[in-house]
Symmetry: C2
Subunit: 344 residues, 2 copies
């Protein structure tokens, strides 16, 4: 070995020793989410997870997602502990829609340069939500990318794998005209519409991250960083016992973009816009940005985070069970002949 050292990897912007240190902190976080089926610890090349034996004819359900420009709000607020929860909950909802419960999760976190502790706070949020959703954080990648991201910024993506018995897959083919739509409230913007919301609040309204939203008692940061809810615990019992025909997770594209993904071709939906009160945040965004209704419903969830599609004979029972479990669900509309989502 030569002792001469003119340039090394650290000089090129990548610090392997620091990456190793970070990894040790991350190992404890992963450890905290282990369950009896998790067979591997960090340090192996791949994570190992045993397939549960209690699922007949098991099918894996998987989804990849990011959190979009909600990250920019987290950067502005200096709040890095919740964005990982947004990510996990979003992914868990996406596979719940197919009837699956999550088994494990992996994250991808990429940055050029952030302050000490930021990445750990992000992954802590990921681990917290994994525990809440009963899934193992099986691994992930923390990528140091010199020259990619702005100082203090990062991108975050996640992948979930869940399982469902083949006979219990929620299949839109079961849905018919006349079936009813039950709405479940969102907790805020969830993870969609942030580019427009930021433009309206920061540029048009000229608000700062700590300012109160006009007419509300919540700051811009607090309102925009409300954690994307997971619907797993409230809906899983009904998914398992066959009470639901289908589910639609209302993400990018809003009700018009997501409801059709859970309907057979040729069927559409009629939404009763007077059946719920659109939360004040959306009204402020609409008024301040002078956005028309169609665009609002296409970009934002408008207070509807998840839609359950049920047989009319089951609707009362499902609604009562949801309300009894503390979930303020309501009758949102109906499945109708003819494609598309109509609002009345």
């Amino acid at each position: 070995m030569s002792a001469h050292k003119a340039m090394d990897y650290r000089a090129a912007g990548v610090d392997l020793e620091r990456a190793e240190l970070d990894k040790q902190g991350l190992a404890a976080l992963l450890q905290s989410t282990k369950d009896s089926l998790t067979l591997s610890d960090l340090g192996l090349f791949g994570g190992l997870y045993a397939i549960p034996r209690d699922v007949a004819d098991p099918v894996l359900v998987s989804s990849a997602d990011g959190v979009g420009t909600k990250l920019k709000v987290a950067f502005l607020a200096g709040e890095h502990g919740t964005i990982g929860q947004d990510l996990v909950n979003h992914c868990v909802n996406d596979i719940l829609v197919q009837g699956a419960r999550p088994l494990f999760f992996l994250d991808y976190l990429a940055t050029t340069s952030v302050e000490d502790g930021v990445l750990q706070r992000v992954v802590s949020g990921v681990a917290k939500a994994c525990k809440e959703n009963g899934c193992a954080l099986l691994g992930g990648e923390t990528a140091q990318m010199p020259g990619f991201y702005r100082e203090g910024e990062y991108d975050l993506a996640g992948f979930v794998v869940g399982i469902v018995s083949r006979s219990e897959i929620l299949d839109r083919a079961q849905v018919q005209a006349g079936d009813l739509l039950i709405g479940l409230p969102s907790s805020g913007l969830h993870t969609n519409g942030y580019s427009l919301a930021r433009r309206i609040l920061f540029e048009v309204a000229g608000l700062g991250i700590g300012d109160l939203i006009p007419g509300m008692e919540e700051s811009v940061g607090a309102a925009l960083l409300q954690i994307h809810r997971s619907y797993l615990h409230v809906l899983a019992p009904m998914v398992n016992d066959g009470s639901l025909l289908a589910l639609a997770h209302i993400t990018g594209g809003g009700l018009p973009g997501n409801l059709p993904r859970s309907l057979p071709d040729g069927l559409g939906a009629e939404i009763r816009t007077r059946s719920w009160e659109v939360p004040p945040l959306f009204r402020v965004l609409q008024r301040t940005g002078s956005i028309d209704d169609a665009e609002m419903y296409r970009v934002f969830n408008m207070g509807v985070g998840m839609v359950a599609i049920v047989n009319p004979r089951e609707a009362d029972v499902v609604l009562a069970r949801l309300v009894d479990s503390g979930e303020p669900a309501w009758l949102l509309g109906e499945v109708v002949e003819g494609a598309g989502v109509r609002f009345d």
Copy 2:
């Protein structure tokens, strides 16, 4: 619906109609990788994949990864069709090391603004490598992130899920002192060391992407974009029949960083540096950057992309099988008492 439209999502930098168009092109790519176990098409919220019935006591093996700043070389070269192959092959190698074959893959692709067709070329590369590795491209996320990435740039991450029978998991606990290391050649830098390599070639040497590397008949772009190999087809037969004790995929951290991940605590490795010829690209990088040997071996694979650990009684047979199958493998070194990797 109001006809007034003062601001919409497109004005804020996100074009949902274009995203929809892209999605239709992507659907054809995903379709091209479908196998008999793929139960879902694009458009559902999660991808569905049936668990193969021919694997006794099945265990899932999963890994997430990115391609690091190799992307910067792809941007400079305007070559977007191979980076997805790097990603898939990297992930497939990572789970192969545990004995698993891949089932399905998902990608995450994030950008602020790229030219038409770029994202499709990236995902085409992902789909091509999925086909080559016999796994389904089950889904993915294409994220439009206004204000995150530079014009023409993107980040790319991926996530693979594979399967292995519990009794066939490659377990480093089986490895003992005296076991032999077999080296398999890399095809280039694979996906590691790019921040340093770019700094040396572009800044120190002042080369352009199309310039020939001094002493080589290959351009900087061609040499740096050599596709990260998949070792699946060459190694899977030996993984399945128990000829191998363990594998180590030589990625970030090089031989000293990765070999120990496949050795029991307290054991190390002795590498015979004269057993192979380090490819010219690494020598040019070392000379031009005045990098010492230790740093070279820590940052780059130095021509060794994968290491197989075998019982000395099996070594000749494994080597012969590899060479007969067209793989120029060689005896790289030996497992020894005492932690750490030593070079002689």
